[in-house]
């Protein structure tokens, strides 16, 4: 073979290419977005340094700020993991928003209505498990439907999860305005009644809102990592995602794997909604948890679909959301700037050629494809 005596290798790499792709590029994307965001703030007449200082203070400046950042981060982590699992399996789950909403509705219903229906109290631990588990199941089934359609009819999951979003969000609106509406005569809002206390997932410390859901989210990240990289099922999901034909050739049941991937993705999204209900709001309300499912796509991309990356990206997004209010209070710079910066991050991560160009990072000969082509 000529490869060895062949073309001379030259010394050029400082960082292993793996680390450049998954670490350096996202980091530089964030940095660049902050710089561009700073310029926008300056152009609007603000002081970017003061703004970012305010942002930092609001996100990390006190124990309470830290606690609030984790409260923001929990649903981001769950939903980010949901989207990342889909991507790993070659499926673009845009439906996390709807799956999350159904997860919240199911958890709320189990939380407030189930004891009454059974005519008995449910022990606290069991009730929490039932509520969260019900939310996971609702989200999972809602995602498994487009998974099934993809596997057996070739219907593209992007279209179908978007359609399922419409159904889920409108159905949620109907339920919260109708059958599940909080019957309190003072209530004019589309929301469910409060869940009973046995279904509460308690805060870790009574004086902060920091709750067990965040710890559960970290636990899920570890579980997802273990499942994807250490188990046979995870290998099947990743193989199907990376090369469907090779997976079929290798004897993987790709139809089943596609459905399982979507089911698992939906379970995580449903969990995001269920935790918001059981650990934070103690009810579901239209307008709670809006946009998490879409932010999750940005988080999964920024985290390069790795659970650790998703946790870091979630903390970043959470810190920005949480710190924004403090920033606005201190500097009068509107919180919307944060949305601009988050959008820029997504832009730079998705179009990482731009980042590579700015920082002169050579691209590896690798094409990153989010999802497979249309049809089979």
């Amino acid at each position: 073979m000529s490869e060895e005596q062949g073309p001379k290798k030259t010394r050029s790499f400082k960082l292993p290419p793996q680390l450049v792709n998954t670490g350096l590029v996202p980091l530089l994307a964030v940095l660049t977005s902050m710089v561009v965001g700073g310029l926008i703030i300056a152009a609007a007449g603000g002081n970017p340094f003061a703004a970012y200082a305010g942002l930092f203070e609001g996100a990390f400046g006190s124990l309470n700020a830290l606690s609030e950042t984790t409260v923001w981060a929990s649903p981001y982590i769950f939903a980010g993991l949901a989207v990342a699992v889909g991507f790993k399996g070659g499926l673009f789950n845009i439906g996390a928003e709807g799956q999350l909403a159904f997860g919240a509705v199911a958890a709320a219903w189990i939380g407030y209505a189930l004891p009454g229906m059974l005519g008995a109290d449910i022990p606290a631990v069991l009730h929490v498990i039932l509520a969260v588990g019900g939310g996971m199941l609702a989200g999972g089934i809602w995602a498994a439907i487009p998974g099934f359609l993809k596997a057996y009819t070739g219907g593209h999951e992007v279209i179908n999860t978007i359609m399922m979003n419409y159904i889920a969000l409108n159905l949620t609106s109907f339920l919260l305005n109708g059958p599940m509406k909080d019957p309190n005569p003072m209530n004019v809002v589309a929301r469910t009644p409060l869940i009973v206390e046995s279904a509460h997932l308690p805060p870790v410390f009574p004086e902060f809102r920091f709750h067990w859901g965040f710890i559960l989210a970290i636990g899920m990240a570890v579980l997802v990592w273990w499942l994807l990289w250490k188990t046979t099922l995870g290998f099947e999901i990743r193989t199907t995602g990376a090369n469907l034909d090779a997976a079929r050739y290798a004897g993987v049941n790709v139809k089943r794997t596609i459905i399982v991937t979507m089911l698992f993705s939906g379970i995580l999204a449903g969990m995001a909604g269920a935790i918001e209900v059981t650990a934070l709001n103690y009810r579901h309300e239209l307008g709670f948890a809006v946009g998490y499912g879409f932010d999750a796509i940005a988080i999964a991309l920024l985290g390069k679909n790795h659970p650790a990356g998703v946790v870091l990206a979630s903390l970043l997004f959470a810190a920005m959301r949480n710190g924004a209010t403090r920033m606005q209070f201190l500097t009068q710079i509107p919180v919307d700037v944060i949305s601009v910066i988050q959008a820029l991050i997504l832009l730079f991560v998705a179009a990482d050629t731009v980042v590579r160009y700015i920082y002169r990072i050579r691209s590896r000969d690798e094409r990153f494809s989010l999802t497979r082509g249309w049809g089979k």
Binding site: S2, E3, P7, T10, V252, N253
Partner: protein
């Protein structure tokens, strides 16, 4: 003869690889100059530099004695350089004329003037003795005819210098002969041709001069009269290689694979495999010869569980496996080297380690069910890399970054490292260099001698003739004849491949 194209001291650096290292090359008017080398030797890089696709990091290009600088193929075309790529650059849903005028359309007012173009295409192709119908749609044409469209397209752009990149890789033996005829016709008219290949026989048949590249450098220049095929192979590979396959007579034993009256439909629902019956015994190689697209792909996919069987039966080791899952067929002891290694056989962004357990990851010792023991997979990978001489920096290197030959070795290592009764090898050496071909042929023979039944499918007639103990010829979905390899000649099989059966009734 005057020198029409000259490259001097070309240097081209890619990240981590010096693909062209001080390469000099010249082309005389009216000659066929073969550029020979293994995959990765730097031939294509050099040609892409000459066609304006790559900007060289150093060196000079001269056309008719004048130094030029090119920044795109458009510049190359202006200097009279045309290129026919290995993968055609035609638009299937356009007609021949539309494809040819693409990029330099004749217009009348705002409308395309297809008539004028069609007339000129007709003239040009008739002139060259290869009738082309300008109004035919490209997707209706055979691969050989599509290649002619590419050639006419270059000539239509007034190319005086033609670069043909591995043009014979996709052709049948007859089409290759036709192509050589066309090439000689062209050189008689003063066109100069650079012919890129790694097939030695062709080189000696067609070349006026030969330049051999290895490892990004020119390692020798010669003419066919000065060198033998074996010497050429050694020069190209850089060591002694054997061009013939040494094998003892087959000792066939029990029947392992028995196919009866098999019928398979292709994606479009037309019959691709039509009433095929064949058997393969342990310890023999049954070769299936045939021009590409005569049902071999569908036959193999049906045998391996990847395509639906619509009639007939497949018995593997006595068990019915028609429409069984790929996994069940694999577990019964069938190994499959797929036709398209990058599409079916490998997961390119995964490490070598993962690819080596692609179909055994769930079995002991790699797993007892739930968890994959990657430490054992790594151990396995290191053993296979050693045993099958896979040239990779490590077991964790992504398979997509390896050369084609080494990618194929990963597949061969995986498929041949478990206890198997049947090996289905489909185009096992397509696109590989001499060294890898030698190795893979050796491995196939070794398994046969160990008592494995081998079904070899190849469109390379030489390969089928060299390896097989019996040869079946497939034509339009049917097996026309099965002949003992000892009685087969290149001519008799070649006729059968073209569907002509008078001489040898099936």
């Amino acid at each position: 003869m005057s020198i029409v194209l000259e490259a001097h001291g070309i240097r081209k650096q890619f990240p981590g690889v010096l693909a062209n290292d001080d390469v000099s090359f010249d082309l005389k008017k009216g000659e066929i100059h073969v550029l020979l080398g293994e995959n990765g030797a730097g031939k294509s890089t050099l040609m892409n530099v000459l066609y304006g696709l790559y900007k060289p990091d150093g060196g000079e290009i001269r056309v008719n004695g004048q130094a030029i600088s090119m920044s795109s193929p458009r510049d190359a075309i202006e200097h009279g350089i045309g290129m026919v790529h290995q993968h055609f650059m035609l638009i299937p849903v356009f007609t021949v004329a539309e494809n040819i005028m693409l990029g330099m359309e004749s217009v009348r007012g705002l409308a395309l003037d297809e008539k004028v173009v069609a007339e000129r295409v007709r003239e040009l192709s008739r002139d060259l003795g290869m009738e082309l119908d300008p109004n035919a749609y490209v997707h209706d044409l055979s691969v050989g005819v599509q290649q002619r469209v590419e050639i006419v397209k270059a000539l239509y752009r007034k190319a005086e210098i033609l670069i043909l990149d591995e043009p014979t890789a996709v052709l049948t033996p007859q089409e290759v002969e036709d192509l050589f005829k066309i090439m000689h016709d062209l050189t008689n008219r003063g066109v100069s041709i650079v012919f890129i290949t790694h097939k030695l026989k062709e080189v000696l048949e067609v070349a006026d001069r030969i330049t051999v590249m290895r490892g990004g450098k020119v390692v020798g220049s010669t003419t066919p009269s000065e060198i033998s095929e074996a010497e050429l192979a050694n020069l190209m590979v850089g060591r002694e290689v054997s061009l013939t396959v040494d094998k003892a007579a087959a000792q066939p034993k029990e029947t392992v694979l028995e196919v009866s009256n098999l019928r398979v439909l292709d994606n479009l629902g037309t019959v691709a495999v039509d009433d095929v019956s064949l058997t393969v015994q342990a310890g023999e190689i049954l070769g299936i010869a045939g021009v590409q697209g005569n049902g071999q792909t569908e036959l193999v996919r049906a045998l391996t569980g990847l395509a639906r069987v619509s009639g007939g039966s497949i018995r593997l080791d006595g068990q019915e496996v028609a429409n069984a899952s790929p996994r069940r067929i694999t577990e019964l002891g069938s190994a499959h080297i797929p036709e398209d290694r990058q599409k079916d056989g490998l997961v390119l962004p995964f490490p070598v380690m993962d690819n080596l357990v692609l179909n055994t990851y769930y079995l002991p010792p790699f797993s007892q069910g739930l968890v994959v023991h990657w430490d054992r997979a790594l151990e396995n990978a290191n053993q296979r890399i050693e045993q099958f001489d896979i040239r990779t920096p490590s077991a964790m290197t992504h398979v997509g970054t390896l050369s084609g030959g080494n990618q194929q070795k990963v597949i061969v290592a995986r498929e041949l490292s478990r206890p198997i009764k049947l090996l289905i090898a489909s185009q096992p050496t397509r696109g590989l260099d001499v060294g890898s071909i030698e190795y893979i042929h050796g491995q196939i023979i070794k398994r046969r001698d160990e008592g494995v039944a081998v079904l070899l499918v190849s469109t390379e007639l030489d390969e089928v003739l060299q390896l097989s103990d019996r040869i079946a010829v497939m034509y339009r979905g049917k097996i026309l004849a099965v002949v003992p390899a000892a009685e087969a000649t290149k001519e008799s099989i070649g006729l059968l491949m073209a569907g002509i059966t008078e001489k040898k009734p099936a």
